[in-house]
Symmetry: C2
Subunit: 366 residues, 2 copies
Amino acid sequence: MSASAYLHKAFLLAGKADPKKIRPNPFVGALVVSKEGQVLGEGYHEKAGEAHAEVIAIKNAIIHGADLSTCTLYVTLEPCSHTGKTPPCTDLIIRHSIPKVIIGSLDPNPMVSGVEILKKNGVAVEVFEMPDIVALNDTFNINQILKRPKYILKSAITLNGKIADRFGESKWISNEQSRAHVHEHLRARADAILTTAKTVIRDNATMNIRIKDQMEEELNLIVFDKNLDLLKKENHQLSIFYKRNSSKIYLVTDMAETTTLPNVETISIPINDGKFDLKMLHKELIERNICQVLIEAGGSLNASMMEAKAIDEIYTFVGPQILMDNSAINQFNSNQIQTMDKAVKLQLLDSMTIAEDILLRHRVIH
Amino acid sequence: MSASAYLHKAFLLAGKADPKKIRPNPFVGALVVSKEGQVLGEGYHEKAGEAHAEVIAIKNAIIHGADLSTCTLYVTLEPCSHTGKTPPCTDLIIRHSIPKVIIGSLDPNPMVSGVEILKKNGVAVEVFEMPDIVALNDTFNINQILKRPKYILKSAITLNGKIADRFGESKWISNEQSRAHVHEHLRARADAILTTAKTVIRDNATMNIRIKDQMEEELNLIVFDKNLDLLKKENHQLSIFYKRNSSKIYLVTDMAETTTLPNVETISIPINDGKFDLKMLHKELIERNICQVLIEAGGSLNASMMEAKAIDEIYTFVGPQILMDNSAINQFNSNQIQTMDKAVKLQLLDSMTIAEDILLRHRVIH
């Protein structure tokens, strides 16, 4: 088997983790391979605070009687070189005299210099930057590099780009299966939904995770609510105020007010030029271990997040309809980008047919 | 082989014809099959005014020594029963005592009652309405039933449904391969492009057919030009006035004026409530053997054609861009459909990736 085939095997292992259990950590898979090419140990990082993939794979190899001084370690991510909740993996590799380490992607965390330390200690190191492996840790990489959550925008639009009619009605632009897809694939992986008080009050949606034949699951909710409208008594019957055990509603406001409502917290952020200081919000969310945020809102929030370069990926469900009305609500409510040469550039990641809807997935090129 | 398998074979034969050579006729393929299941004769309609598929298949079978009185005729379309440019095919079938005819789709032309006449004459008839076969003759069927051309709308839009920025600039929303696709697959099959004088003057595009490694081809052009702006001297240098041998420019106006410009013809149509009487236009185009029209225009013409239920199919090229400007030009410039429940319903036919563009093909459900 080639080095990239072993790395692919380690990549598949890495992806077995539940993304919400490992936050804020990356997906990592590791293999210990004998000089004859036999896999003697394997492991993946399963839960934040618990063993790293390399540790599990090495322990596993020792149990199988491996002579580590003749083995190669394959690991999807550059091994850590600093003491976090667990000791550095580079120490372990060096202590066991593993002569060669093959790495599937570099760690963007500036505190990690695993490659350098291993080389200094006489370990042969090869680095492949494998696109699939890098993409698997997109959220982690964005968290590390940009010090903010990964923001994913979800929209359901008509063929001509409208998210609702002029009266705000959007039931239903996308079909039932598309809506189920949002729960199973987008909400299930997100740490929170980001929306506005206006949307919450108008739609009165529950904004939790509902997957067929499974228990309903809670999901954090971040609401732009400048005037703290959701704290008003008349809004306490809204569906988002379901009984929460493991999640919270975060109300983003520029006021200093706090609340005693259970599982509701205000996040006070300054407003500059009429807009929330998103850099402050990014920091507050990362501090709360909210690493991936799903934006489900109207055209104005979509536009302001895009203008602040705070959308990384877009999932667009295109329904088989046309709303022929210039006053119908646009996916982005803005007048900021007036010429073709300044258009936001996207990269098409993939597309799929969901009955008569099409789901397009784009990466935003900032 | 099953009946549907023979019909499929006949369908593939039918599709060999060049659509522009058979206009206004349908695609038709036919097979003569012996009682042992052997194909003894085959044929397809190749050119308007020349032999029908059944005639060719039967002649072919006779040459191969078939005993027609024991054979089955498979034909993709109900055989004609009236004398057009050629005698009725039902006569031929009856004369040769073919005992059984299996038909892939009915002819919507009310003058055709082939099934009835064959049955009356003791021929066993089976009719399958095969979706692929019906779809192959979509243009013919629309021509017959609605007495108008089939109108196909082509748009290149940003992800959020804009066809140009507020200044009218649209270069380039879709990529080079998508634009090549328009020439090869849309213009090549259309009998004319429909556009407006405004678009012609602004873009100064040639609007002919350019396919890589092939000679440029002419294409009829229908221009909504109320004031006959294109007849003005200053516009005679526009690219559409290339030397034409086999095509024309049709200027649609409510004026009675004619022109002596070579290969330019005015079509005078009344204007009611500020809009051209499209029913009159449909008739004029059918009389000129223009059976399929490709609409390449701006949001206003797109909207008025849609409002008149004169768009049958939409090809949308979605480019990987976002124009965040509410004043950018919409695919449909209209305020007519203000509520979700009145949205134009589409049927997704298929989609394909063209590099980073996505091409969506929808049928309009009127």
